[in-house]
């Protein structure tokens, strides 16, 4: 009797406070339908473009070969890279392959080509649960990202956590605040009228509280990305997501 009671209480608290809910659940049915239909989802234009770039530049090493196909890989990123001695997100990992395996210049963050390739690679993990490693060398990035998430900043003196932990579900200027998970990105935002990276989404949130946005691809944004991925662990990757 008592055990059943405790189990029930535990379950109830998990369901309310710790339930991880995708931003998808906060969209209108029209926007959800847009994401669900591969032939109508505008993000698929970038995925397709990425697919043809991949066939030209990457497929030699990354089909069934020894380096593996890349299915499910994006769910493990950001990850610490021993050779590069830094935390790489998918964009960084792609540029790393360009540098060391293709002897090519890195692609600019938010360039059409990098968005297309990262959307393609992340789309190969669509349906996979986010599962990042925060131990070992990744730990200090994780700590840095968590600190950034809880630090108050900007003219409005707000932290990410105040909106996305404490007030999700509430309305803000016609927008319903979600839990702020990264699983839709690179994603198509209607407001951008284009595909964009997770770091561009960070910049929009920082600008929204009148804080100075950090550089795309910067170490602190990569660290923040690691913290968000850990916070969203178990959530299914939706790339290309569609958001307002």
């Amino acid at each position: 009797m008592r055990a059943a009671c405790i189990a029930f209480l535990l379950w109830a608290s998990l369901a309310s406070a710790d339930e991880v809910i995708s931003g998808y659940e906060f969209l209108t049915p029209e926007t959800q339908a847009l994401q669900d239909d591969d032939f109508a989802n505008p993000g698929m234009l970038w995925v397709e473009e990425g697919g043809s770039l991949f066939a030209q530049q990457c497929a030699d090493c990354h089909t069934q070969g020894s380096n593996g196909n890349l299915e499910g890989v994006a769910a493990r990123y950001p990850a610490f890279d021993q050779d590069a001695q830094t935390l790489l997100n998918i964009e960084g990992r792609i540029n790393r392959c360009r540098e060391i395996h293709l002897q090519a210049e890195p692609l600019a963050y938010e360039s059409k080509a990098l968005l297309a390739l990262s959307a393609y690679v992340a789309n190969l993990s669509k349906g996979h649960a986010i599962d990042v490693d925060i131990d070992g060398a990744a730990q200090r990035y994780f700590t840095e990202g968590r600190d950034y998430f809880f630090r108050r900043k900007g003219q409005f003196n707000l932290a990410c956590s105040q909106c996305h932990d404490d007030h999700w579900g509430r309305m803000l200027r016609g927008d319903r605040i979600s839990q702020g998970h990264p699983n839709a990105f690179p994603g198509y935002r209607l407001e951008w009228q284009a595909m964009g990276s997770l770091h561009r989404r960070f910049q929009d949130c920082d600008a929204g509280i009148r804080a100075q946005p950090l550089a795309l691809g910067s170490r602190r944004y990569r660290s923040l990305e690691l913290y968000l991925a850990w916070r969203a662990r178990g959530l299914i990757i939706e790339v290309p997501g569609v958001r307002r």
Binding site: F39, A40, P42, M44, L45, E49, Q193, A194
Partner: protein
């Protein structure tokens, strides 16, 4: 769109192209007017005849999407064509087998 269809069958065709559809009503950071740059025409030919066509204005959303219905007659090619205001053309061809 499907690869095969029965004679007389009505099926849906969905098309989309990546394009900003810059409306010409926006101003940039320094107040300068961003010039209009849009796709103006979409055409779909089937069995050598135009089956569907559209003219776009700036009110069409970025990355224009269209869905319309076609009645299958005979096996043949579908030619999809988009043309921007400068006359640049993008073309895609897809075959349909009619049983």
């Amino acid at each position: 769109m499907p690869e095969t269809a029965a004679i007389g069958e009505v099926f849906e065709v969905k098309v989309m192209i990546q394009h900003d559809m810059e409306s010409g009503y926006r101003r940039g950071q320094y107040g300068e007017r961003i010039p209009r740059n849009i796709i103006q025409h979409f055409r779909c030919r089937y069995l050598g005849e135009q089956v569907f066509a559209s003219e776009f204005f700036p009110g069409v959303a970025a990355n224009p999407y269209l869905s319309f219905l076609v009645r299958a007659q005979r096996s043949g090619e579908f030619v999809f064509e988009w043309e921007d205001q400068h006359g640049k053309v993008w073309r895609r061809t897809v075959g349909l087998a009619v049983q």
